[in-house]
């Protein structure tokens, strides 16, 4: 769309879901970015790892459960999902608790990933 420019985009998710809209509206940007043929990655660090937990059930709070969308990302050719090991451990979250396949990176690898991007957008 933009004269064939391809940039490396990293969307950094640092917030728990539902308490604020950032996780949901951040995901909407990610989906749109798929239409632009960019090199898109998603990072889940700090409280952002809570977005990926299995078994989210929002019926009793009357909000929409958008967590299945993370599984749908593959269909949009968004396949580079990374979670930070230190963030998972600090919250007692195991890789098996996550609803989608992610690559788990140590903090130093995550910092290196951030450092090689053209655009970093945090939600």
């Amino acid at each position: 769309m933009s004269e064939g420019v391809t940039k490396k985009f990293l969307f950094v998710n640092r917030k728990a879901p539902y308490g604020s809209v950032y996780a949901l509206e951040g995901l909407e940007v990610v989906l749109i970015s798929a239409a632009f043929d960019q090199d898109v990655s998603l990072a889940f660090i700090d409280d952002g790892v809570y977005q990926l937990l299995r078994g989210q059930d929002t019926k009793a709070i009357g909000m929409k459960n958008f967590s299945p969308t993370y599984r749908a990302l593959e269909g949009y050719d968004i396949e580079k999902l990374y979670a930070e090991r230190e963030s998972l451990e600090a919250r007692g979250v195991a890789e098996g608790d996550l609803l989608v396949d992610v690559k788990v990176l140590g903090r130093e690898e995550m910092a290196a990933l951030m450092d090689e991007q053209d655009v970093v957008i945090g939600f």
């Binding site: 728990a16 879901p17 308490g19 809570y50 709070i61 909000m63």
Partner: protein
């Protein structure tokens, strides 16, 4: 006093700030993103609760975040009706925003 906290203890100081002023006989209710503090994996902050303070978590918010099975010991899960009952039972309410 019923203290209400709605922020993750990993992201904000609100829960620690609240517990530093809570006294015996008070109740603390965790809602919204604060429910993560009631899980086994993130219970460190709540360990600072003074003796005699009762700890509650709002189960609809815990379920929404997929954490219903992770409830740490010593914390009572309540629904919105239980939230209302806590407000009625305590003489006043303080939200730690």
């Amino acid at each position: 006093m019923l203290h209400i906290v709605n922020k993750s203890p990993h992201e904000r100081s609100a829960l620690a700030d609240c517990l530093a002023r809570a006294r015996a006989g008070h109740a603390v209710l965790l809602i919204e993103d604060a429910v993560v503090a009631a899980t086994r994996g993130s219970a460190a902050t709540l360990a600072a609760a003074p003796a005699g303070v009762s700890l509650y978590v709002l189960s609809p918010d815990l379920q929404a975040r997929g954490l219903a099975g992770q409830l740490a010991e010593g914390i009572t899960a309540v629904d919105y009706r239980g939230f209302v009952d806590l407000v009625a039972a305590q003489p006043r309410v303080q939200s730690w925003l």
